[in-house]
């Protein structure tokens, strides 16, 4: 790369040589376009899960205020409520400033000369705006303005609500009308063999973009193939699609490296090289990739949908053939008849069809779970596990990093305080605290968000940060002893800037290692809790509950109910551990065999 290009910014370098970047972006857009409907669908789903968070925030806030007033009297309650509100505002304003305000408010308003730190001032301004918006939403003063030239009584909250509904309508239209490559509309697997003489009434195959092409003779399935084959084709296509994405992202990284990177070589190149010869880490990566795709594409993965299978089985009907007649039955009634009960007469095992011509890749659940399809259950359960794992690792990682920076920079008392706090939290026996907290909060409004998954993520974050902090404390201390930190201090750089610019980059890699090593433990703990009947509330699927449901049938023909979910946990946890090992050896090759990371890896503690 020549001298001239080196002095440009990243976007400047792209503007100077746009072809490779455009090719890559074009490919990415193409990949996105064939799945646009599913993408919008996922956004809708996300919105649905966020909704109770927004609606429930008032309940949760009310609960906090009530508790404080009840237990601390009037004065204490007022102080604590105000403190709580300030804390929430502070957290939100930092987040909103970082995520949604890309420009400097202080510079725009011309307030640079005020004798107060610019960051603090910006956050205070954002916080004040948020506070005003919050009060408006709470008390709706617009409703009292009769001069408002709008029809009816539109309050501010209603305006927002109306906007959200319009957006939801647009999203729904997109989902309904734009074909998606990997959907059960394009590759359906629900169908039946039409009886003799009714072949004209029930033509073979399904309609694909208006045309009907049939290879097999099934009615309603993709190309008229058997439901099993149609389902297999869809799953294979999904994995192919995800694999193409993976290759394309890798291609993007290579494009960036070849054409747009400032430096010809960075230490990260060596890490990537080390990982590319680390077979064990790659094995972990493959397993984690399979798991991630299963979780992300869960709605299209199962042979049936979660709505039909789990949430509203009696609201959906399908057709099947019995005694030469085409009959209609609800999914719920059919599920009950195809439950796996441990006897050969009533069992739908691995790779089997039930009496209604529906295909079950890994069998069905028992009558206790209304004979639901196990694969659909597992795919959706993978989502729940992944959501809890990622969210709690992100939260505890954030807390741990912030504390590690502060303790390594200031040392002394700050370090001692965090040591005592983290020791106290670690002195509480893990699983027992999870049990206790899940029971205590089981009727609290916060447990309605994602069927308690959000609460679990918070619990694991609150109890998990000490271990992460312990793991990155050492590296953070090492960095804080370096000469460049001294230089930055004497140069007069603000502590927060020193931590962020000169310490954080050296510690972030360790966070990745321990994050991937602990996520397996979280998956096991979540499963253990739902095995005990706590945590994620039914009907939302969770892997551990499947093991509990299948407990009586392990030695019978219905062995699949408990065995397959358990094996899946083993594989996923091993995969995350192996990936963590790989990342560790890539980032920190000297640590190989020193064993500090090995103890942190997830064990079957649950």
């Amino acid at each position: 790369m020549s001298e001239a290009t080196q002095n440009r910014t990243f976007f400047g370098r792209i503007a100077a040589n746009p072809t490779p970047a455009l090719i890559w972006i074009g490919g990415a857009l193409l990949l996105l376009a064939v799945e646009f409907g599913a993408f919008v669908d996922a956004l809708i789903l996300f919105g649905e899960q966020i909704n109770p968070l927004v609606g429930g925030s008032q309940d949760i806030g009310g609960w906090y205020v009530d508790t404080m007033y009840d237990s601390l009297g009037f004065a204490g309650g007022t102080v604590m409520s105000a403190l709580g509100a300030l804390l929430v505002l502070a957290v939100f304003s930092v987040f909103v400033k970082a995520a949604f305000v890309p420009f400097s408010i202080v510079e725009t308003l011309g307030l640079e000369d005020l004798p107060i730190s610019a960051d603090l001032l910006e956050r205070s301004i954002v916080g004040a705006v948020l506070a005003v918006l919050w009060l408006i939403l709470l008390y709706e003063p617009l409703a009292f303005l009769p001069a408002l030239p709008l029809i009816g009584e539109p309050t501010f909250a209603q305006l927002i609500h109306g906007f959200a509904q319009t957006m939801a309508g647009i999203a729904d239209w997109i989902v309904a009308n734009i074909p998606t490559l990997l959907s059960r509309d394009l590759i359906p697997n629900q169908g039946f063999l039409p009886p003799e003489g009714a072949a004209a009434e029930y033509p073979a195959g399904s309609e694909i973009l208006g045309a009907r092409i049939a290879i097999g003779s099934y009615h309603g399935t993709f190309l008229g193939l058997s439901p099993a084959a149609a389902w297999a084709i869809r799953v294979v296509t999904i994995y192919l699609y995800a694999f193409v994405w993976l290759l394309w992202v890798w291609q993007g990284y290579k494009t960036f490296r070849r054409h747009y990177r400032f430096a010809d070589w960075t230490p990260r190149d060596d890490m990537v090289d080390r990982l590319s010869t680390h077979r064990w880490g790659q094995f972990g990566f493959v397993i984690v990739f399979l798991f991630l795709v299963l979780a992300m594409f869960a709605p299209a993965m199962g042979p049936t949908t979660t709505t039909q299978n789990i949430y509203n089985p009696y609201g959906h009907e399908f057709q099947y053939v019995e005694n030469g007649q085409v009959e209609t039955i609800t999914h719920g009634s059919a599920n009950l008849q195809s439950a796996s009960q441990g006897t050969p007469d009533s069992n739908v095992g691995v790779m089997n069809y039930d009496d209604y011509g529906r295909f079950h890749p890994i069998g069905t659940l028992s009558e206790r779970a209304n004979g639901k399809d196990l694969f659909t259950f597992m795919a959706d359960g993978a989502r729940v596990s992944l959501f809890i794992g990622l969210l709690s690792i992100a939260l505890s990682g954030f807390v741990a990093t912030a504390l590690a920076m502060v303790t390594a920079y200031y040392k002394g008392l700050a370090d001692l305080l965090v040591v005592v706090t983290s020791d106290s939290i670690q002195a509480l026996p893990g699983l027992l605290v999870y049990i206790l907290l899940s029971v205590v909060f089981s009727s609290h409004p916060i447990s309605n968000i994602y069927s308690g998954g959000f609460l679990l993520a918070l619990i694991f974050a609150a109890t998990g940060w000490p271990a992460l902090w312990r793991a990155i404390r050492g590296p953070a201390f090492q960095v804080s002893e370096e000469e460049w930190i001294d230089a930055a201090k004497s140069y007069g750089q603000r502590p927060s800037a020193t931590m962020r610019k000169h310490m954080l980059p050296y510690v972030a890699g360790y966070l990745l290692i321990y994050g991937s090593l602990t996520i397996g433990g979280i998956i096991i703990s979540v499963a253990a809790l739902s095995f005990l009947g706590l945590g994620v509330a039914p009907p939302t699927p969770e892997w551990g509950r499947a093991v509990n449901i299948g407990r009586p049938y392990v030695t019978t023909v219905s062995w699949h109910i408990a065995t397959i979910p358990g094996l899946m946990v083993v594989f996923v946890v091993t995969g995350f551990n192996a990936l963590g090992d790989g990342i560790r050896d890539a980032i920190d090759p000297q640590s190989e065999g020193s064993g500090s990371g090995e103890a942190a890896a997830a064990g079957g503690g649950g």
């Binding site: 002195a427 049990i435 907290l437 205590v440």
Partner: protein
């Protein structure tokens, strides 16, 4: 700093840790949205009765008063009465009743991994990159990743059908009945612990004097061991994998160190090198791991005791938690915190004795 000064400091630091841990527990129980009065009376209770019970339990007093009383109670080991599980029974009585079975389970689940995990790890470390090493290492990784609750369910089910499975595996040659092997026992009942009787029934006479010794019932002992083995193996599975992996790396590290090279150079036999120089030094990093298992065991015992129907303190905790029995939950937490904190200090103490190179920091 001297060793004793270091431990005085450790003990001093343990005080705020215990205090803070207990305070967290109190905050969860009392500030959380759990209503013990409703848990005792059930739903649809008239308000007058509700208020009466609330006053009886002292729950209507100011929170700081309750907090001080709770802390004083804990530190004088006056742990209060159970609310729900067994009304008006002292929490301590319940804990003492249930503890022996959990201790028995915990003892074996520490012991079994020690005698399987460490030898396997050392074997793998002494023969690195052989088939045996790969087999042991990979097996250990998978074994460790198995969730206890699932492994427990599988063990329980397979053992209860051991006859069918052994016939299937050996083509009908062997019919192995686990529940009839050596001594008969039921699977899924708590192990009997009355093999030891300190009052003594065995009497024998030496030189005219009758001596009463404690009696030891071998059959009951074997039964107790046999019944606790499956849950103990499962509970120790994670520890076994840990000890194996760390044992392997420790041996590899020691065997490549300079003093082993010196020993080899001066012509010591391989056996002597392995036992005197490698084995003893490789044990050092394993000490903290072994004691750390206390965490896993305390948590994991809840699940094992639920699956194998052993009514120990893990099971007691689970029942107390889901029934809203606050004093019992609080006291159990307190005891667990004490065990873990003192285990940690003991571990550091042991560490400085075994390895004097460890600094007092």
């Amino acid at each position: 700093m001297s060793r004793w000064g270091y431990f005085a400091r450790r003990l001093l630091l343990a005080v705020p840790v215990v205090l803070f841990g207990v305070t967290i527990t109190f905050a969860i129980i009392r500030l959380g949205p759990l209503d013990p009065v409703a848990a005792i009376l059930g739903p649809n209770t008239p308000p007058s009765q509700y208020a009466r019970v609330e006053e009886q339990l002292g729950l209507n007093r100011p929170l700081w008063g309750q907090y001080i009383e709770y802390m004083v109670g804990l530190f004088t080991f006056d742990l209060g009465n159970s609310y729900v599980i067994q009304e008006n029974t002292k929490a301590m009585t319940l804990i003492v009743q249930h503890a022996p079975r959990t201790l028995w389970l915990g003892f074996w689940s520490v012991l079994i991994p020690l005698f399987i995990g460490i030898p396997l790890g050392f074997y793998a470390g002494l023969n690195p990159n052989t088939m045996g090493d790969y087999f042991a290492s990979f097996g250990g990784i998978i074994w460790r990743a198995m969730p206890n609750f699932w492994l427990g369910v599988i063990f329980y089910s397979v053992l209860s059908q051991s006859g069918t499975y052994s016939e299937m595996l050996t083509f009908g040659l062997v019919n192995f009945q686990w529940d009839a092997w050596l001594v008969t026992n039921n699977i899924g009942t708590p192990p009997p612990l009355n093999f030891y009787n300190s009052n003594g029934t065995d009497l024998f006479t030496i030189g005219g004097t009758t001596i009463s010794l404690f009696s030891f019932d071998w059959e009951v002992f074997v039964r107790a061991v046999k019944m606790v083995l499956p849950p103990a193996i499962v509970l120790g599975s994670a520890s076994m994998g840990n000890e194996m992996r760390l044992g392997r790396t420790a041996v590899l590290e020691t065997i490549n160190s300079k003093y082993v090279e010196t020993a080899r150079a001066k012509g010591l036999s391989r056996q002597k090198i392995v036992w005197k120089h490698v084995f003893r030094n490789a044990l050092i990093p394993l000490v903290p791991i072994i004691l750390n298992e206390a965490f896993l065991l305390i948590g994991g015992s809840v699940i094992m005791e639920t699956i194998f129907a052993i009514n120990g303190i893990g099971y007691l905790f689970f029942q107390a938690a889901i029934n809203g029995d606050m004093p019992l939950v609080g006291s159990l937490m307190y005891i667990f915190i004490l065990i873990i904190v003192f285990m940690n200090i003991f571990q550091d103490f042991l560490y400085t004795i075994i390895d004097p190179r460890v600094g007092y920091e």
